[in-house]
């Protein structure tokens, strides 16, 4: 037995000037189930709301319809009022007789008739409203940050400084990412390690940050506020607690000729090694593929000589499972390998290098101590050619997008070169200079105007070697496409920024979307740039798209604020507009037949398979179950289900069809 009250708002003249509100009120009173109907000048005003509350009590109403403006405007207001009046807020509906009626139609009988119809729809709907409670989900206030580049470091520090514990998981033996390899950074030319190292140390010392280096995420289950992360700690073969980072092992290890990853192969390292002197943690790792002991069973020199007896040849990978409430993805990027450039020699010329190698050559902490020496013979190159857009904006190479950072770092490289080699000449082949940031274009102009870097507009077609020099065949399109041939001592390719090799796999592990180039996709390109479509998983840095450091840091702090905001709530409450699969007493259990069409249709992976078991644990039936933490209430599943076993609260089949039946 419904007792519905209908409240018709005049909205001053806004509604009453066009719609005959008295007629609507009268019509409402005739609708089955309506026991009370009034019209009033301003329903949203204090007296209006008080009137609604009082009526609920006095008339013992169990549902109300407010015919006024758009629900997108005042639905929360009237639902709160209804709750104060003593009914469930979800038993209050609004009929939009302003935006959808009085404001868009002429005054007259037809418009009033429409208003009456709109009221009738909502009366039919409200009669079938069930009391709903907002969904409350607990939150584990601990964050997982994946990737320890500048993005991950910044996000971890910001979240920890806001008071929540963080697990920082880094794949390689040290945090720092690409930034730790950089020499100086645009647009200020400050030394990269000088600004990064203190942050790395801060991460290591922060009481709320637990660092997992040389570790990977194996699995992520659960949903926002309630994830379960499975982390694999790969065996370093070192007891980290005992090791004091003295470095004796790497000095004494007989295997010495392994190309050093940190120096981009420009120097060598041992089989047991700390990636670079400022590494965090400053603990070595044994490279199993190259250690003599693991290859032949003989050696163990490191074990014998380690003063703290920290070497553990029998150490195994460890698996840990942690509860976390939010995840920040900060796994960064890679650059296109130089052997992708067939026209520039497939990477076979030693003096055709990429930007990252140049960073190591230019770095004071690099293999040459910052002196410009070319890799082939250590000579100082007198003419260096830089090739911008190497692989970027190149459909043929599968990268049609602009890599965004290379115009700037190429200008930086050319400038650093001119500073280091007096009398040398840097020439940059470019297509456009994209320097759209604060002080960026000024930086590029400085390279040209003050440091004498020559910019030639055009792409290079081929690089080959002749008499120990590199011949660069390019073109100057500003001279009417005149071919230009330069004999250079070194060529630097500004190689395209690409997603990490394992990005697709990781995206699938985390159920986040990715673009055609395997960069992780943001929830909205403009308004939700640090969120993914999966609630509780956020993005920072170059794993989303090519980014420089300022942008990376800004985005990391943005992601951290989203996490902190989430963690500041006592628990998650969400509108209960979600799907549910019906449950029936045995032996039916549910009308669901387990076809899982709904599961395939759901854009949020919110539908799970649930086994209904008897006391012996035998599976009696497999049915669908909606995870309320993941469901966003789109209703796609409902229209997919043939047995109507799944329904959407607040927009149920019963309600929608009742509206339709009253047309």
């Amino acid at each position: 037995m419904s007792r519905i009250g209908v409240f018709i708002c005049h909205c001053g003249e806004n509604i009453a000037g066009t719609v005959d509100v008295a007629a609507v009120t009268k019509a409402a009173l005739d609708m089955p189930g309506v026991v009370h109907a009034v019209d009033y000048k301003y329903m949203c005003s204090d007296p209006g709301q008080t009137m609604l509350k009082d009526a609920i009590v006095e008339k013992k109403l169990d549902g109300v319809v407010v015919a006024a403006c758009s629900p997108r405007m005042h639905e929360p207001t009237f639902r709160r009022t209804a709750e104060e009046g003593g009914i469930n807020p979800y038993q209050c509906e609004m009929a939009n007789i302003r935006e959808h009626c009085s404001w868009v139609h002429e005054k007259g009988a037809a418009t009033t008739a429409k208003a009456i119809d709109l009221v009738r729809f909502q009366v039919e709907k409200v009669k079938r409203d069930h009391p709903l409670v907002p969904i409350r989900v607990p939150i584990t206030k601990k964050a997982l940050v994946l990737g320890g580049g500048i993005a991950g470091i910044q996000a971890a520090l910001d979240i920890a400084n806001a008071g929540s514990p963080v697990l920082l998981v880094e794949k390689s033996p040290s945090i720092g990412g690409h930034m730790s390899q950089l020499s100086e950074t645009f647009p200020t030319l400050d030394c990269s390690q000088c600004i990064l190292t203190p942050r790395m140390v801060e991460v290591a010392r922060h009481p709320l940050i637990t660092l997992y280096t040389y570790s990977e995420l194996e699995k992520l289950d659960g949903f926002i506020g309630n994830f379960k992360a499975t982390i694999r700690k790969k065996a370093r073969k070192i007891d980290e607690k005992l090791c004091n980072g003295c470095g004796v092992c790497q000095q004494k290890c007989p295997v010495k000729k392994i190309p050093d990853e940190f120096n981009e192969g420009l120097s060598n390292r041992a089989a047991i090694y700390v990636p670079f002197p400022q590494a965090v943690p400053n603990k070595p790792v044994i490279d199993l593929a190259n250690c003599t002991y693991y290859k032949t069973g003989k050696c163990k020199a490191c074990e014998k000589l380690c003063p703290t007896k920290a070497i553990r040849f029998d150490q195994e990978d460890q698996i840990e499972v942690h509860d976390v409430g939010a995840v920040v993805l900060a796994t960064g990027f890679k650059t296109m390998p130089v052997n992708n450039f067939s026209e520039y020699g497939y990477g076979k010329y030693k003096d055709v290098i990429d930007g990252m190698k140049f960073e190591r050559l230019a770095s004071a902490s690099g293999p040459t101590g910052g002196a410009m020496k070319r890799p082939s013979d250590g000579k100082t190159p007198q003419h260096v050619v830089f090739i911008a857009c190497a692989g970027s904006r190149d459909r043929l190479k599968g990268v049609p997008y602009c890599s965004k950072i290379c115009c700037m770092y190429t200008a930086k490289h050319a400038m650093l070169y001119q500073h280091k080699v007096h009398g040398g000449q840097a020439t940059v082949f470019y297509m456009d200079v994209r320097a759209a940031g604060k002080n960026y274009d000024e930086f590029v102009r400085r390279a040209v105007e003050e440091d004498g870097v020559k910019y030639v507009r055009g792409r290079v077609s081929r690089v080959y070697e002749d008499d120990g020099q590199l011949v660069v065949k390019g073109v100057d399109t500003l001279l009417g496409a005149e071919p230009v041939e330069i004999r250079a001592d070194m060529v630097v390719l500004a190689t395209a920024v690409q997603a990490q090799n394992d990005a697709e796999e990781l995206a699938q592990t985390l159920h986040v979307a990715y673009d055609p180039y395997k960069f992780f996709a943001e929830a909205h390109p403009k308004l939700r740039p640090v969120e993914t479509n999966t609630a509780g998983i956020f993005l920072a840095g170059a794993c989303q798209a090519p980014r420089d450091i300022p942008e990376t840091v800004a985005q990391a702090s943005g992601a951290a604020v989203k996490v902190a905001g989430l963690f500041s709530q006592p628990e998650l409450t969400r509108e209960p507009i979600i799907a549910v699969v019906d449950r029936q007493p045995p032996p039916v259990f549910s009308h669901c037949v387990g076809c899982f069409l709904c599961k395939a249709a759901c854009p949020y992976q919110a539908i799970e398979e649930e086994q209904i078991k008897n006391r012996n644990g035998d599976v009696l039936k497999v049915v669908a179950r909606v995870n309320p933490g993941l469901c966003q209430g789109c209703g796609t599943c409902v229209s997919t289900c043939r047995t109507k076993a799944i329904d959407l609260q607040g927009f149920s089949n019963e309600q929608v069809f009742a509206e339709l039946m009253s047309i």
Partner: protein, 145 residues
Amino acid sequence: MAEQFEPKITAFVCNWCTYAGADLTGTSRIKYQSNVRVIRLPCTGRIDFMMVLTAFSRGSDGVIISGCHPNDCHYTSGNYHARRRWMVFRDLLDFVGIDLRRVTFSWVSAAEGAKWAELVNEATNNVRALGPYKEIQQLAAAGID
């Protein structure tokens, strides 16, 4: 002058784009014909075939289905599902003998107030020209739903 036939149009719209777009038509005070009745749904993905049939059998002479533009769906891919189903829909509607000229599919975003008004006017005029949808109502009376 004989009284002009006034069709009944039922519109299924999503909450995030088209409903909001229609609100904007209101705040911009753009006038359109009053024949349309809006059924608000969270997403076009929520619409099912039976809803459209019911609308017709209950006396609608035309139906509008409108949601977010592709790629703009509030629910990521909801409207893709809807679109894919529309193809099937069309065939089904055709199969049960619904006159497809009476069904208008469109996209109206929250910023397209004027487009909503045009859409309603166009659909209303088209259906008005087609006349009342007697066939389906007769069938309905005979009990197809």
